[in-house]
C-alpha cells in the first residue's frame, strides 16, 4: 500500500467517524435570533440618515407653529374689527 493510499484510507475512516457530528440543540433558533437582530440593525441603519435631519425638522415645525399662531391672531383681530363695524347704507 502506498503512502497516498494510507492517507486516503485514514481520511476515509475519519470522514466516516465524524459523519454523526451535528450542531447542538437550538442552533437553528439561535441563528434566526441573530438574523432578527440583523433585521433590526438594518432598520436602525435606515433610520440614521433621517435622524440627521431631525433638528431641521424640529425648527421647521416650530416656525410653522409660530406662523399658525400669528395667522390665527390676525384672523381674530380681523373678526373683532368686523364686529365693531356698523353697516351704513
Amino acid at each position: 500500500m502506498s503512502h497516498d493510499e494510507d492517507i486516503d484510507a485514514r481520511l476515509a475512516r475519519l470522514a466516516s467517524g465524524t459523519a454523526e457530528l451535528r450542531p447542538r440543540a437550538g442552533f437553528s433558533n439561535r441563528v434566526m435570533q441573530r438574523i432578527g437582530q440583523e433585521q433590526l440593525g438594518t432598520l436602525y441603519a435606515l433610520g440614521t440618515p433621517a435622524r440627521r435631519f431631525l433638528p431641521l425638522g424640529m425648527l421647521a415645525a416650530a416656525l410653522a407653529m409660530v406662523w399658525a399662531v400669528s395667522v390665527s391672531s390676525q384672523v381674530d383681530e380681523a373678526m373683532a374689527a368686523s364686529d365693531d363695524t356698523e353697516l351704513s347704507w
Partner: protein, 175 residues
C-alpha cells in the same frame, strides 16, 4: 438551482422567516464541515452562524446571483470563514482541549475521538491546503466543486492537494 431557490426568492422579497428553511436544510452539513476544519463544534457553530448572517446580508444586497446553487454558495462562505478562523488561531494560539465539553452532548465517544484525531493530524497544514483536503477527501467534493467553493482554478486545487498530501507523507515518514 437546488430546491432552496424558492426560499431564497422569499428572503429576497423581505420574508426573513423563509431563511429558517435554508438554515434547517443546511446547518447540519455546514457545522460538520466547519467542525472538521476547526476541530470542535462550538467554534464551528460560531463560524456557521456568522456565515449565515453574511449570507442573509448578501441575499438582501443582491450579492447572490443564482449561478451557483445556494448550498455551494453557503459552503464557500463557511469555508472562507473557517480559513480565516484557522489563520487567526495560528496568529493567536489558544489552548484547546480536543476532548472538551464542546461535543459531549451531541456526539459519541468514537466521533469525538475521530474529530480529535483529524484535527491533530491536519493541524499543521496551511489553512488553504487543509480546506482543500477536507473538502476533497472528507466531504467528498469533486475538484471542480472545490474550485468553485475556494474560488480558484482546478489546477490550484490540485496543487494544494498535492502539497497537503506531501506534508502528511513527510510527517508519517518522520515518525
Amino acid at each position: 438551482m437546488d430546491n432552496l431557490g424558492e426560499a431564497v426568492e422569499r428572503v429576497r422579497a423581505g420574508d426573513a422567516a423563509a431563511f429558517q428553511r435554508i438554515v434547517d436544510a443546511t446547518s447540519a452539513r455546514l457545522v460538520r464541515l466547519a467542525a472538521r476544519m476547526l476541530g470542535n463544534v462550538i467554534d464551528a457553530e460560531d463560524v456557521v452562524q456568522e456565515a449565515y448572517v453574511k449570507a442573509y446580508r448578501g441575499l438582501m444586497a443582491g450579492e447572490f446571483d443564482g449561478r451557483a446553487n445556494v448550498t455551494t454558495w453557503l459552503y464557500r462562505i463557511v469555508t472562507n470563514q473557517s480559513i480565516d478562523a484557522m489563520r487567526s488561531r495560528k496568529r493567536r494560539p489558544q489552548p484547546t482541549d480536543l476532548a472538551d465539553e464542546s461535543t459531549s452532548d451531541l456526539a459519541s465517544a468514537e466521533t469525538k475521538l475521530a474529530l480529535a484525531e483529524l484535527s491533530d493530524w491536519l493541524g499543521d497544514l496551511p489553512a488553504d491546503q487543509k480546506a482543500a483536503l477536507v473538502l476533497k477527501a472528507v466531504e467528498g467534493l469533486t475538484s471542480p466543486e472545490i474550485a468553485e467553493v475556494l474560488q480558484c482554478s482546478e489546477g490550484a486545487v490540485e496543487q494544494r492537494l498535492v502539497r497537503a498530501r506531501s506534508a502528511l507523507r513527510k510527517r508519517s515518514e518522520g515518525q
